[in-house]
């Protein structure tokens, strides 16, 4: 199956059905291994056991930006190539990205209280990630407020691409401004600054969370394709039987289908 074949939603559904069990299996294995390695990782000489929060916080923080990056590429697919699955991919990713961003903020706050003495500080890194979270929520609201998915897709794609400006701001905020947040310690010039005893559990958790995103994203895309089929069948039903009630189990879904 070539990449172009995946432009067909029916073929994508077939591929998703075959892939999802394997993706779920790999995700569970990686997260189980990551949790075990996190549990047995030594305490940091300065931070003590709170360093274990890093194994949850950092993968979620990475994914909060990565998911917006995926949505940005999908938005280009919507605006430039009008790929039939591009806006499905962007819409399906938004709630998952919002969840990762929420977890990054929450776990960062829980890590900050014992280390910095405060749950929150309006500095550049924390504020720019909060803005990212609000942009995710705004995008989800936009998708729900426009009934026609095609029209919603174009508006959402423009908003997503504009919002992508925030990604380098988040990444380099710790270098450009004074901040409580530590500078990059893994993806930086000169290699990771972390000891292997912390780096390995962190990378395993990061790969595990990445597979979790891929699994959830494929499943959410499958749902979105089915939702659009429901919508198109309901429109056919409305044309065929004007004034008739929707089929049972589908009540009131025309408006909510977008």
């Amino acid at each position: 199956m070539s990449l172009i074949d995946l432009a067909n939603p029916t073929r994508f559904l077939a591929l998703a059905a075959r892939l999802l069990p394997w993706l779920a299996l790999v995700t569970v294995g990686l997260l189980a291994a990551g949790l075990y390695l996190s549990a047995v990782a030594p305490d940091d000489y300065q931070q003590g056991a709170t360093v274990k929060i890093m194994f949850i916080h950092v993968p979620n923080a990475w994914l909060s930006m990565f998911v917006w990056g995926v949505m940005s590429i999908a938005s280009l697919g919507t605006l430039v190539w009008r790929h039939p699955l591009a806006d499905v991919a962007a819409k399906a990713a938004a709630p998952i990205g919002a969840s990762f961003t929420f977890l990054a903020l929450l776990t960062g706050s829980l890590w900050g209280r014992p280390m910095w003495g405060t749950y929150w500080e309006w500095d550049a890194r924390l504020t720019s990630v909060l803005i990212l979270f609000l942009m995710y929520l705004g995008l989800m609201a936009l998708w729900r407020s426009v009934e026609d998915p095609t029209r919603a897709a174009r508006a959402a794609a423009v908003l997503t691409l504009v919002g992508a400006i925030n990604l380098p701001i988040i990444k380099f905020s710790v270098d450009w401004w004074n901040t409580l947040h530590q500078p990059a310690s893994v993806m930086r010039m000169g290699g990771p600054a972390l000891d292997k005893s912390f780096l390995i559990p962190l990378l395993v958790m990061a790969v595990g969370f990445s597979f979790l995103f891929i699994t959830l994203h494929v499943a959410a895309m499958r749902n979105e394709i089915l939702r659009r089929r429901v919508r198109s069948l309901q429109m056919m039903q409305a044309r065929a039987y004007p004034g008739s009630a929707p089929a049972s189990g589908a009540t009131g879904q025309i408006v909510g289908a977008a």
Partner: protein
């Protein structure tokens, strides 16, 4: 495993992550069943796709 004086911060972080992941999985699973049920209901009422294939078909 002794987590020291900050056990509550560490445990809350892991529990919150687990809760959010479980909610995401649950939401996606329920959404899947809902959409499949709606498609089945529409097909049983005589509405079918222009291609003639069942909307719930994946092949």
């Amino acid at each position: 495993m002794d987590l020291g004086p900050y056990t509550s911060f560490i445990a809350t972080s892991y529990l919150a992550a687990a809760l959010v992941v479980v909610l995401l999985i649950g939401w996606i699973a329920i959404d899947y069943r809902t959409q499949k049920a709606r498609l089945r209901a529409l097909e049983e009422s005589g509405i079918s796709r222009r291609s003639g294939r069942a909307a719930t078909d994946i092949q």
